[in-house]
Symmetry: C2
Subunit: 306 residues, 2 copies
Amino acid sequence: MNKLAIVGSLAFDAIETPSGKTDKIIGGASPYIALASSYFGVKPQIISVVGGDFPKAYFHLLDGKGIDTTGVEVKADGKTMFWAGVYNKDMNQRTTLVTELNVFADFTPSVPESYKNPDVLMLGNITPSIQQAVIREIGARPKLIVMDTMNYWMNTTPDDLDATIRMVDVLTINDEEARQLSGEYALVKAARKILAMGLQYLIIKKGDNGALLFGKDGQIFFAPALPLETVADPTGAGDSFAGGFCGYMAAKGSTDFETAKAAVVAGSVMGSFCCEKFGTENLQSLSEEAIAQRVKQFEQLSYFKY
Amino acid sequence: MNKLAIVGSLAFDAIETPSGKTDKIIGGASPYIALASSYFGVKPQIISVVGGDFPKAYFHLLDGKGIDTTGVEVKADGKTMFWAGVYNKDMNQRTTLVTELNVFADFTPSVPESYKNPDVLMLGNITPSIQQAVIREIGARPKLIVMDTMNYWMNTTPDDLDATIRMVDVLTINDEEARQLSGEYALVKAARKILAMGLQYLIIKKGDNGALLFGKDGQIFFAPALPLETVADPTGAGDSFAGGFCGYMAAKGSTDFETAKAAVVAGSVMGSFCCEKFGTENLQSLSEEAIAQRVKQFEQLSYFKY
């Protein structure tokens, strides 16, 4: 089974949206990425850190979906990272109420031997220097390294960020971040500049306006977001997208543009499932039929005969 | 040749964008709709009104593209409608500097005999009562009546607007307007409510985020906007979209969902051309090859093999 190594936060989230609110539930980037990827016949392996307060039930949940947590360090005397946030009425903006980094504040990733030489490496949105450390420790260079990041690192550690981007194959950011990183407003021009940093693909995420895939040879593909009846909670949709993308790519083993296009659809499929329930709930119990059915919906949404 | 009757403003526009600015040029909804539709092998026929100051050269321009202007009343002692606006840096917002309705203030549309019984009727965004008057005067009910409108009419003449929507087959509005009209945030729910007013199709325009087509039987199709190298001026993009849509529908003579999907792509194609130059300039001189090539770009942008 092809392997997908994932580095990213593992945390407690407390979320409030117009559809409801949760107590502390499993959150952070890595469970969304790992759960979403687990449906594509690959072995997700998480590198992260939690405190002694992290429930065994969450490890069992991940184990039960075939997700390897050997690389999750448990600091028995520390507390797990905690994030709390509230969404506005339209769920297109959120306010962070609490961010307690706790054990994540001095996270030094350690890659188990059993994780080495993965087919794909997914770098969740964390300090670029930590992303770099994982690339150095991962063994033989993976066929594909995918990196998520955000404007925060563009503002605080631009040099580290720049150097990290130059080490990876795929970057996923949103449209505003693409504009900030490139200094170009038109996304075609922004993409060309960012791809010139040595990327094979740039994915620009536009939330409920879909996602654009740009290839280094000028190719462009657009995957719409599925218009949903109900959005319960958009938390983790971007990470679920990344998980679907990486899971599909790791399973196929090819990195050509046709494969990347389908992987962006796989990502959009998982992002759409994520939003329908709170937290990772919907990602914990999807059926193959539900996924196949949703892929069909994306085909119907996109195909036309002129 | 199938006929497309169009009612809408015909005006002078003065436009400023980060890419440049124009003096008074031909503007208003109807020239964009008519020019865009003229590439689909149909006969566009404009119903509108101008003042004695409207240049003969503009009539020649429209005549030269096979557009019938018999139904454009010239009020020799009046002044043509004038609009001036300036766009922000990102061209996603604009400020109106001047709106002089002039002869358009008491526009009473009169439909020439040669316009009667068209295949498709396009009601540009004007007072709903005027749109209704045109429907009553147009002769035998067209196979398809398409209506554009905006939030202004939702706020000022909601009852007239409601009655007019119930007389047409296709409504084109943007996402915020769909939410306002329906009272629903999720576009799927908003669409269902609006379609229940008796529409066959609802088109929700999202500008550079594409367009959604909803059918009365629950069908959904999404056409992306083509990511452009350069946006010179977004003025008229929505009207160009409507023109491409109506032109394609009038040419095909069918109103089924597959045809409507392709027509939405035709609309997106014309909207993309419109934005690349100021005013109607790009729509005045497109080649069949350029249009066919751009349709191909939309196919490449949308198609995937999972």
